[in-house]
Every structure is written in structure tokens, then in C-alpha cells.
């Protein structure tokens, strides 16, 4: 990937999260990235194409990081699902964390017909399925139900955290997740 293309992606990611996707113009992005509109449109056909790519990249980066963490862990499946929120907490509290792309995007693009909305709900669904897979591996009977509960906790905590940075919302979500997971394992 060209360095300039990469630079545009990173700049757009940051601006989208900090000042909003809709309120970040292409002019703004090229100014901060130190490039021209022409270059931006050479790599990304439209602003929408750029947004979609930012979302895909954000989610891939997070998922890859999480996969590595969980697969290198020697824990049993029943403990791995508990660890999930430890890693989420680590990620949210890292200085680089600026938010979850799909949560932001689905709020800014509520129209179901919109490709950005469609991608963000697909990503939300995929993350839920990922939790469901962890729950099934831990032999939890109602894996779908637990996955729904945990993803609601996760999305709620991330949004609360975005309203009050450093509020520790994820810390409490983690405690709540433990209660729910323990309950589901015993059921």
C-alpha cells in the first residue's frame, strides 16, 4: 500500500472519531494529511468509499489484535470468554484508542439503505457472532443470549466512555460481564 494512501486512511480515522464523520470534509482531511484532493480521489473514489475503507480497516485491526491475544492465551475456553473483557479494557484504556468505528458510524448514518449503515451493522453483528463463538466453545447453552447481553454491555460501555473519557465504564462492564458469564456457565 502506498504510504500516502496509508496516511490518508490514518488521518481520516482520527478526524472521523474526534470531530465526527459527517462534519469532517474532504478538504479537512487533505489539509491535515498534507496532500491534495486529487491524490485523495485517486486512491478513494468518493468520500463514502473512504469511510467504508476506514471502517473495514479499524475493525480488522481490532479483530486481529484480539485474535492474537486470545489465541496466545493458554486458558481454557470457559476462561477465554472471561478474558475477552480484560482485553477490551486494555484496548479501550490504551492511549491510541479513539473509539469504535462501527458504533460511531451507525449513529451517524441511521438510514438502513445507506451502505455505511449496512457495513456498520454487519460489523456489529460479526462481533456479536465472535462472542457467541467464544460462548459456545465455553459450552454455554444459550450462547446467542449471552452474546447479545455481552455485546450490549460492550457497546453501552464504549459509548459511555466516549461521552466521559477515562470514566472507567469498561471496568464496570467487565465486572457485569463476569456476573453474567458465571451465571450462564452454571445454568
Amino acid at each position: 500500500m502506498s504510504i500516502l494512501r496509508e496516511k490518508i486512511l490514518i488521518t481520516a480515522t482520527n478526524l472521523f472519531q474526534t470531530q465526527g464523520i459527517n462534519s469532517t470534509g474532504v478538504d479537512n482531511i487533505v489539509a491535515v494529511a498534507g496532500t491534495t484532493k486529487m491524490t485523495l480521489y485517486k486512491y478513494f473514489r468518493t468520500k463514502e468509499a473512504l469511510i467504508l475503507e476506514v471502517l473495514v480497516k479499524n475493525q480488522q485491526d481490532f479483530q486481529t489484535w484480539l485474535d492474537e491475544k486470545l489465541s496466545s492465551s493458554s486458558k481454557k475456553p470457559s476462561e477465554k470468554i472471561q478474558q475477552l473483557f480484560d482485553y477490551i479494557e486494555e484496548w479501550v484504556n490504551s492511549p491510541d484508542f479513539i473509539g469504535v468505528g462501527f458504533i460511531k458510524a451507525s449513529a451517524e448514518f441511521p438510514n438502513e439503505e445507506n451502505p455505511i449503515h449496512q457495513l456498520s451493522s454487519q460489523q456489529s453483528r460479526e462481533f456479536r457472532q465472535y462472542i457467541c463463538k467464544l460462548a459456545s466453545e465455553a459450552s454455554i447453552k444459550d450462547a446467542d443470549g449471552l452474546a447479545l447481553q455481552l455485546s450490549m454491555l460492550f457497546e453501552g460501555a464504549v459509548q459511555a466512555e466516549q461521552m466521559q473519557r477515562g470514566s472507567g465504564a469498561v471496568k464496570y462492564a467487565k465486572k457485569a460481564a463476569k456476573i453474567l458469564i458465571d451465571g450462564a456457565i452454571k445454568a
Binding site: 441511521p110 446467542d144 447479545l148 447481553q149 453501552g156 457485569a176 458465571d182
Partner: protein, 266 residues
């Protein structure tokens, strides 16, 4: 009810409904999910929303109300808890409107409510130490109990087996019960927050050094409940059984001083 869109979340109507929903702040916080579910069930609302519910820009009225109630319930960080509950309510509405996309979405509000109960509990329970060595102590007392149980089962086999079989079937229903609409089951099953409260209490006990009551000393009516819920940790959703279990838990003496700290020589 003539509130047809996302304005519901910032409406006086919702606050009034919440205010009269329960005598406790804890109950009022959880009622948010029941009230919104009832609202969403109305056909005219469904039709109007047509599968879409977008997050309102703000819902200050509701967020302030939830924040005040969270403070009354003793939350460590009331404003944050309020925000989390608010976003979870939006997730529940959105999931419920898209049953084809979200597995388990038919029970989205019940799942949101369970998650909310756990979250309230996490914010209102005291911090506790986790002492690894206490797990061994717990395992030892657990083994002791098992021996007693074994003897007891031999003595009173028939009666006990019946009780346990009965309780097991109740336990099996815990998952299904937690996802059945609360409005129809409120008399027969305990509220999710009570269930979660017991689970949390048991979880807390696992981290402490507890002297469990010897089951043989208990009256027959309590023995089965004690063994299943307190010893085995299988919490049933029967409110009567939960009450007994809670009383038995209160009688159990636990020390939460970290063993590692007590044992360390330095």
C-alpha cells in the same frame, strides 16, 4: 400514547411511567426496559417506526433522571451508569426491531435487562479481595459437604431424590425463564435482578473463606434448596426458594481477608 419516534426517550411520559413503576430506585432503573418494550409492542408504533430507530441527539431529561436514580441506588458512578443504561436501552430497541439480523432479538429487552441488572450490581456492590488460596479452603469445605451429602442421600434417599429432581427441573428453566417476558411470569419467577443478586453473593463467597452450614442440620424443606443453590451454585428462579437461599447465605460466616496476605511472611 402518541409518541411515535425516538422522542420517546426524552419524553415527560417516560419519566412519569418510570416514576410510578417501582418503589425502589433499583426497580425504577430496570423498569426502563419493560416500559420501552411495552411501548414498542403497540402495533401503531411498530408500523410507524418501520424497522428503524435512530439514536436521538440527546435525551437529557431521561439521562438526568436515570443519573439521579442511579445515585439513589448507591452507584459508584451514577452518571456513567445512567449513560450505559441509556445506550443499552437503545441497543435493545434496535435489536428488537431487527429480529432477522440479531439472534435472540425476540428477547432483546430481557437480555438488556439482565445485562443492566448485572451492571447495576457491579456498580453498587462493595469491592472485594480475591485470594487464590481461599479457593483451596473452599474446595476443602466443599469436599466435606459432599461427604455429608453422600451420607444424607443414603439415609433419606427417596425423599431427597424427589426433592433434587424437582429442583433440577426448576434449575433447567433458569435460562428460559430469564428470557420469557417478565410481565407474564412475574408471579412465578423471581426478577432477574434478584437472581443476579444471589449469583453475585455466591460469587463473592467463592472468593472468601466461608464456613458453610452443615446441610444435615437444616430442616428438610431447606436442605434441597441449600444444596442446589448455595453449595452447587445452581440458582433457581423461584422467588420463594431464592428467599430461603438468601437467608441461608446470610447465616454463612465468611471471611474476605485475603489469605495470601494473611499467609505471607514478609
Amino acid at each position: 400514547m402518541d409518541i411515535l419516534n425516538s422522542q420517546i426517550l426524552n419524553s415527560e411520559w417516560l419519566i412519569k411511567m418510570l416514576e410510578k413503576s417501582s418503589p425502589t430506585p433499583h426497580g425504577r432503573l430496570l423498569s426502563l426496559f419493560d416500559i420501552l418494550e411495552d411501548w414498542l409492542e403497540a402495533p401503531s408504533i411498530r408500523e410507524h417506526l418501520n424497522g428503524q430507530f435512530s439514536k436521538p441527539k440527546t435525551a437529557k431529561l431521561l439521562q438526568d433522571y436515570l443519573s439521579a436514580e442511579a445515585a439513589k441506588a448507591g452507584a459508584a458512578m451514577p452518571e456513567m451508569l445512567a449513560n450505559q443504561l441509556y445506550f443499552m436501552a437503545i441497543s435493545a430497541i434496535q435489536a428488537r426491531l431487527q429480529p432477522n439480523i440479531h439472534a435472540g432479538a425476540g428477547h432483546a429487552f430481557n437480555h438488556a435487562k439482565s445485562a443492566a441488572s448485572a451492571l447495576i450490581l457491579a456498580q453498587t456492590s462493595k469491592e472485594f479481595y480475591i485470594a487464590k488460596s481461599s479457593v483451596y479452603a473452599m474446595a476443602a469445605s466443599f469436599l466435606g459437604i459432599l461427604v455429608i451429602v453422600g451420607l444424607m442421600l443414603n439415609l433419606k434417599q427417596t425423599q431427597q431424590n424427589e426433592q433434587i429432581a424437582e429442583l433440577k427441573s426448576v434449575n433447567k428453566s433458569i435460562l428460559s425463564a430469564s428470557i420469557t417476558p417478565t410481565s407474564t411470569t412475574s408471579e412465578m419467577t423471581a426478577s432477574p435482578d434478584q437472581t443476579v443478586a444471589i449469583m453475585a453473593q455466591l460469587e463473592l463467597m467463592r472468593h472468601g473463606n466461608c464456613q458453610l452450614i452443615e446441610a444435615i442440620q437444616l430442616p428438610d424443606s431447606q436442605k434441597g434448596i441449600y444444596l442446589n443453590m448455595v453449595v452447587n451454585g445452581q440458582v433457581s428462579t423461584d422467588p420463594h426458594e431464592q428467599k430461603i437461599a438468601m437467608e441461608l447465605i446470610k447465616k454463612t460466616r465468611c471471611s474476605y481477608t485475603p489469605m495470601l496476605m494473611a499467609n505471607s511472611k514478609s
